[in-house]
Amino acid sequence: DTAVSQTPKYLVTQMGNDKSIKCEQNLGHDTMYWYKQDSKKFLKIMFSYNNKELIINETVPNRFSPKSPDKAHLNLHINSLELGDSAVYFCASSRQVSTDTQYFGPGTRLTVL
């Protein structure tokens, strides 16, 4: 009965590879988010989708491409991984846009070697 789930929990890969992180929420929320948390614990919004439509797209490299097949899923695909992409990536959801409480997944620790 996990509310927001992400897979995988850990991802170790070589520079230049392409990888995906999956996120699913079973809360019936309309809005989903991807965040990146760096080594200093600073949390930065990357993307936000509302009802499968992109509403926030912060300045991230276009190697990062979110995909929302339906309201309950928001996947993150990363092309040509770089060392600087190493971080913890969190998926979150909320009932509506950010004025509401956000519910976070457990995070995916990405390590690029």
Binding site: I45, I56, A92, V97, T101, Y103, F104, G107
Partner: protein
């Protein structure tokens, strides 16, 4: 861009003492939220306080908001070892497409 700034960056107290963390922000907000993050886990929502509210309570947590000073505080009373975590404030700015803007967090350590 970073909006909320928590202080202190780190706080270490004895179990049973009260812990106070502060958050300052720069622009007008719709609401301010506090979250907790245990080591290696996702963030968990604690309290949301709206711009027209001054104080909210939830169990051992008390949050205040002073919009004139653009600051908020989170008080945890009678701290427990399980309260050890990082605490983040996040603000919803009125001019930011309603996205949450996060601070860097306060790392709280409760010594048994």
């Amino acid at each position: 861009s970073q909006q909320g700034e928590e202080d202190p960056q780190a706080l270490s107290i004895q179990e049973g003492e009260n812990a106070t963390m502060n958050c300052s922000y720069k622009t007008s907000i719709n609401n301010l939220q506090w979250y907790r993050q245990n080591s290696g886990r996702g963030l968990v929502h604690l309290i949301l306080i709206r711009s027209n509210e001054r104080e909210k309570h939830s169990g051992r947590l008390r949050v205040t908001l002073d919009t004139s000073k653009k600051s908020s505080s989170l008080l945890i009373t009678a701290s427990r070892a399980a309260d050890t975590a990082s605490y983040f404030c996040a603000t919803v700015r009125k001019d930011s497409n309603y996205q949450l803007i996060w601070g860097a967090g306060t790392k709280l350590i409760i010594k048994p």
